[in-house]
């Protein structure tokens, strides 16, 4: 067991930045816990609108999920490259991660458009409202992650990263992996378990 200490150490001897990020992710669990619980409660309330089984396209969403899962691999490879101080690989893996994330978000936009055309609007039913709120919030998180990744690529090209470079890449990595684990739960509970 190795305790990794980066950046400015707190009184506990742990990096403040990393401590703050984990506390933030812990609080994000509560946010998504609320959204997932609300969906689970309302997923059967379709009131005349389409049912989940009528509109979900499992093969398409499976491919999207796979893409997001693989983006976690490219992200961890970027973190690994950052610890080795290999700038070329950091840029490569961060860019690939952002592209995979953009593919996922593009898929989500396509999916939302298809659902809307099939009659599921935001206010059509409690199922629609809770579904769009949950997956929409997740999509926004992925989009924020993509913005952070591309900003980091731009900043790294100018070599002006504030603080320790490896730690900055690692923090964005933690956020990105969190977005991935939330999707792991959403994919199972929302898409694969029938109502």
């Amino acid at each position: 067991m190795t305790d990794v200490i980066h950046g400015h150490a707190s009184s506990t001897g742990i990096s403040n930045v990393k401590l703050g990020m984990w506390a933030f992710l812990g609080s994000e669990c509560l946010l998504f816990g609320g959204l997932i619980s609300t969906y689970m409660l309302y997923r059967g309330r379709v009131t005349g609108g389409p049912r989940p089984s009528q509109i979900f396209d499992i093969p398409f969403t499976s491919v999207s999920s796979f893409v997001l899962l693989m983006s976690s691999l490219t992200m961890v490879l970027a973190v690994s490259a950052a610890h080795k101080d290999d700038d070329r690989k950091i840029n490569l893996w961060l860019t690939v991660t952002a592209l995979l994330g953009a593919t996922f978000v593009g898929g989500q936009v396509y999916e939302f458009t298809a659902f809307y055309k099939e009659g599921l609007g935001f206010s059509t039913s409690l199922f629609g409202s809770s579904f769009y709120t949950l997956t929409g919030f997740h999509g926004v998180h992925v989009t924020v992650g993509i913005i952070m990744l591309m900003s980091l690529v731009g900043i790294l090209k100018r070599s002006s990263v504030p603080g320790k470079k490896a730690e900055v890449v690692e923090m964005i990595g933690l956020y990105w992996h969190f977005v991935d684990i939330v999707w792991i739960i959403i994919f199972t509970l929302v898409y694969l378990i029938p109502v």
Partner: protein, 103 residues
């Protein structure tokens, strides 16, 4: 030589090499394939438990290896899992409340 030294340092800090991360990703992809197969193949009474177990395995693998929680300071694990347990506990109670009070 320098790269090898950097590899070793990273492995010492995070307990994984790049090849190790790729192996984890392959396992995750295989589990995802199994999850999707439950949609097409009838697993009977095992359907729901199998799906939930696979979801938890994927979750723990990403958190432990990709987020390095397995190799990092225990304080981080406490912060994250405290939030997670609190979320699950509060919302289990929330869902149970709806169950009990609905006519």
């Amino acid at each position: 030589m320098t790269t090898n030294t950097a590899d070793t340092t990273h492995e010492k800090q995070h307990g994984m090499s790049d090849a190790g991360y790729i192996r984890i990703a392959i396992i995750l992809a295989a589990i995802t394939g199994l999850e999707v197969s439950t949609y097409y193949v009838d697993f009977g009474v095992l359907f729901l438990p199998a799906l939930l177990i696979m979801m938890v395995i994927k979750f723990v693998m990403v958190v432990s290896y990709f987020m390095h929680l397995k190799f990092d300071n225990k304080m981080f694990s406490f912060l994250f899992y405290a939030g997670l347990v609190l979320a699950v506990g509060v919302y289990a109670a929330f869902l149970a409340t709806f169950k009990f009070f609905i006519q």
